[in-house]
């Protein structure tokens, strides 16, 4: 069997190693070393000259170089003045540490393993050839082919270094310099390649052929030459496919790694992309990078900017529909300077995760950073005001001149009537916001000059510039102190004084129905309870009842019952509205009173009229407010009494009295002119004559007795006289009485004159005194 295997050399041929041309090895054609292939010009030799020696030489040189190639630094990275040297192995370790294990494997195999294996394999082959081993020549040939093909791939690291050196040239920031190992390494690669080329695999086979050379040569010509078997190319894989394979491997690994590490991709809409740069601007949360802006595009409406960002995977749980984004830039306000760091580092996108919610991918960015971010302890309240006052976003909130919060946002309500501002009060101060706390505008300076001097009031210097609001609580309130819940609505008072003055809750609005004129009553007129202001007039209207033809004037008042302290408990423990009912049942009435004689201003007085007719509070009366019963004013009362007096006078029967008087006089005249009277006179004369006689007798008989009686009378008269003397007390009293009477009559005269001059003073009091 072996005899049929003839080598070219045995048959006296030279085979061109390049073009496979067989040339006869005739000794006459010259020395073997000079023979060239007639076709391609390659040197022809039946075996590579000095193959073993050359291979050994190259191999040993490569082995020598292999040591420094691995021991010395391959590259030196200089970044920001700091130099760091990397050997091949430390590069591999770096890749393993950063998790790029496929790259680490590739580099390790190409740069460490392959050269080493090549050295070992070639050495083994050389030794086996030198020892004329017959051990598995076929496998040894394959091994050789493998070393030859794979050797070039060791150049990988040299190329990597070349690319890195070319790429990383960022001015003075970072440079990569090639280390001495690179040259050694390249030498190793070239030398091992040379060694592999100079090795002649035919030597492997020569060992088994030596013996049969001569006998076969004698046969002459070409005996039965074996026919090479033809195989389908089933197994043969070109080593070139390693490239796409490795590339695909790296690519797939990168993709897998990318998908595994990919976080949410989000789109944020901003009004402007100022300072935002795709690929550079970071998304940060608590100053930690959690993503990068990947694209900045103009939105479809050409009004907004769509900023696309890719976040890290760990940010997944952070992003929800409540998340707010804004661009962090340097900002300067009257109270603070924010984001100074962004001046140097450039703007970045900041975020506030907000409350957990549904996942979302599209967000609308805030133009201004929010004052209050989630997780900040404290509480939000709503302050409403008719005017903006100093409700600037970011304006401070003070409590007893301590800065405790900020105005978060403000907006005009949809009805356009009030401004609604959101205020955040930090913990622990939010506990001092009660339901009856008053907020007021503390911006600017409150300057007041009065009898006690000049008062200057301001919360802090910052509020003078930036404005601000303050709050405090009236502790004297009878209401139990109750903490205000989140988003509780407060009214904003224009200043501290007004805030601490009074407030009206809609529960304490009442409507009063007056029948008389309310001339002199104006909106804002006080409501007083025995001189203590407890409220004010909110509105005055008028109504005409078509069915009764009566005019009624509803006056709406707001009261503040807290101003009145109640001592003890009502019989049935009533409070609030019921308290008013109880008071009304006890005679509480509203009355219009003249507050100022000069101006005729009226005010509403609430007072107790125990004699008033029983009445009660009409709930849900006109205009939706409870109706308090009213009593007429004092002047109204006088007027009505006067008119009833005149009515009574009107009803006196004066004419009949006159007629009766006339009848009486006529009767008297008739009596004086009648005969009866004459007769009477005559009989009277006779009677006088008889009297005369009677007197005569009296003088003579009764005079002495009379004298005595007269003496007695004189004494008693003297006593009377002493009683009636001018210096007697009775006399002086009488004179005083007479004088008082005279004075009274004078006063009456003056009143009569005044009434004559100004009759309406009966109703409205005296006018100005000229």
């Amino acid at each position: 069997m072996m005899s049929s295997f003839m080598t070219a050399r045995q048959l006296g041929y030279l085979s061109c190693s390049v073009c496979h041309l067989l040339c006869s090895n005739c000794p006459e054609s010259g020395a073997e070393e000079r023979r060239r292939c007639p076709r391609c010009g390659a040197r022809l030799h039946s075996r590579k000259p000095d193959s073993i020696t050359r291979t050994w030489a190259l191999l040993l040189a490569a082995a020598l170089f292999y040591v420094p190639a691995n021991a010395l630094p391959m590259t030196t990275v200089t970044a920001l003045g700091k130099a760091q040297s990397d050997t091949i192995l430390s590069g591999v370790i770096y890749f393993i540490q950063t998790g790029s294990w496929p790259i680490a494997v590739v580099i390790f195999v190409a740069s460490v393993l392959v050269p080493l294996l090549k050295l070992l394999i070639l050495a083994c082959l050389l030794i086996s050839v030198q020892r004329r081993s017959r051990f598995r020549p076929r496998d040894r040939t394959r091994l050789y082919l493998l070393t030859e093909a794979v050797g070039r791939w060791s150049m990988l690291d040299v190329f990597v270094v070349t690319i890195l050196v070319g790429m990383v040239k960022l001015g003075t920031l970072a440079t990569i310099e090639v280390g001495p190992a690179a040259l050694f390494f390249a030498a190793v690669v070239v030398l091992t390649m040379g060694a592999a080329m100079s090795f002649d695999p035919r030597l492997i086979w020569d060992a088994g052929e030596e013996s049969m050379t001569e006998s076969d040569r004698s046969n002459g010509g070409i005996p039965d030459m074996p026919v090479a078997p033809v195989r389908k190319r089933s197994f043969h894989i070109s080593l070139l496919w390693v490239v796409p394979l490795v590339a695909a491997l790296i690519g797939a690994w990168l993709v897998v790694k990318g998908i595994r590490e990919r976080g949410p991709r989000i789109t944020i809409t901003f009004k402007s992309a100022e300072g935002l740069e795709a690929g550079k601007t970071k998304v940060k949360y608590k100053d930690v990078d959690i993503g990068t802006v990947t694209a900045v595009e103009l939105g479809p409406d050409l009004q907004h900017v769509l900023v696309k960002a890719e976040l890290v995977k760990s940010a997944q749980g952070l992003i929800s529909e409540n998340t707010r984004f804004w661009v962090a830039r340097a900002r300067v306000s009257a109270t603070a300077i924010y984001g100074l760091g962004t001046v140097f580092s450039g703007a970045y996108i900041d975020l506030d995760p907000g409350k957990p919610g549904k996942p979302a991918r599209h967000f609308t960015g805030l133009e201004e950073p929010p004052i209050v971010t989630t997780g900040l302890p404290g509480r939000h309240f709503i302050v409403e005001s008719a005017r903006k006052e100093s409700l600037e976003v970011g304006a401070p909130v003070y409590f007893r001149q301590i800065r405790v919060g900020e105005v978060v946002s403000y907006r005009l309500r949809d009805d356009g009537r009030t401004i609604e501002a959101k205020v955040f009060v930090h913990a622990p101060y939010h506990r001092f916001v009660w339901k009856n706390t008053r907020f007021w505008d503390s911006g600017g300076i409150d300057l007041k000059v009065d009898a006690s001097g000049v008062h200057l009031y301001t919360e802090s210097l910052a509020t003078v510039l930036a404005g601000g609001i303050a709050f405090d609580t009236i502790q004297e309130s009878p209401e139990p102190l109750e903490e205000a819940p989140e988003d509780y609505v407060f009214r904003l008072f224009p200043n501290r004084e007004k805030a601490l003055e009074k407030t009206y809750s809609p529960d304490n609005y009442f409507v009063l129905l007056f029948e008389g004129s309310v001339r002199g009553l104006s909106v804002g007129a006080p409501v007083e309870f025995r001189g203590i202001p407890v409220g004010k007039v909110i509105d005055i209207r008028s109504e005409f009842n078509l069915s009764t033809n009566k005019v009624k004037i509803p006056v709406i008042i707001a009261t503040e019952p807290e101003r009145i302290s109640f001592v003890g408990t009502a019989p049935n423990r009533e409070s609030g509205k019921n308290l008013f009912e109880y008071l009304v049942s006890q005679g509480l009435r509203a009355q219009l009173r003249s507050g100022n004689v000069l101006t005729g201003q009226l005010y509403v007085a609430l007072d107790l009229f125990p004699n008033a007719q029983p009445a009660h509070v009409t709930h849900g009366g006109r205009y939706g407010y409870a109706e308090l019963p009213t009593v007429p004013s004092p002047l109204e009362e006088i007027g009505s009494k006067l008119s009833s007096l005149l009515d009574k006078m009107d009803r006196l029967p004066l004419e009949q009295i006159g007629a009766d008087l006339r009848d009486t006089l006529q009767g008297a005249k008739r009596i004086t002119t009648s005969q009866d009277l004459l007769n009477t006179v005559k009989s009277l004369e006779a009677a006088s004559k008889e009297m005369h006689l009677l007197l005569k007798t009296l003088r003579t008989q009764t005079t002495p007795e009379m004298d005595a009686a007269l003496g007695q009378a004189r004494t008693s008269l003297a006593a009377v006289e002493s009683l009636l003397r001018s210096d007697s007390p009775l006399h002086s009293r009488l004179i005083a009485a007479a004088e008082e009477f005279a004075a009274a009559s004078r006063t009456l005269k003056v009143l009569a004159e005044a009434l004559e001059r100004d009759p309406q003073s009966v109703l409205f009091g005296k006018g100005q005194e000229e």
Partner: protein, 196 residues
Amino acid sequence: MACNHCDLMQRVPPGPQGAVAVCRRCGCELVRYQSKDLQRPLALACAGAVLFALFNAFPFLALKKAGLVHQTHLITGIYFLSQQGAHSLAALVALTVLLVPAAHLFALLYVLIPATFNRTLPGMFRVFRWVRTLQPWHMLEIFMLAVLVSLVKLAKLAEIVPGPAVYCLAAFIVVTAAANAGLDPHAVWALWKDPR
């Protein structure tokens, strides 16, 4: 025909396309039966020539970091290497990445163009020998792998923007590989007429 690896003389029978004749003794590939058509390798080699020009002309990779953009060409690395004093290394890289591929390509064209028309040019077979012997020193595919490795290495450091040259290089490697694989050297050698 003698096996290149074990020197065994054997006959090579005609075989179907795509099959391989292997050495009886050592099992190494003797002849690859391929299409004798030389037009396809020629077309691919032409494409390769165009791509070779492209990837040398266009920017290769761009490095972006903190607003700085550093653009490189294929030769930038070699240039910096020689600047840093590693002249021999630079020469080696230039040789394996630029000169050998270029020489290889143009040699191939020099052979293939006349060969397609069944003509011979002076020194054509000598040139073709160079084509065959230069093959192992043509290391652009390794360079491509090195590009991938450095991409990963630098990705942590800065943003890398692959330029058009990278794609041209990838295409060039595929095209030259296809040209070499599709080329039957025997079709060229067969053109040789023994002058004797």
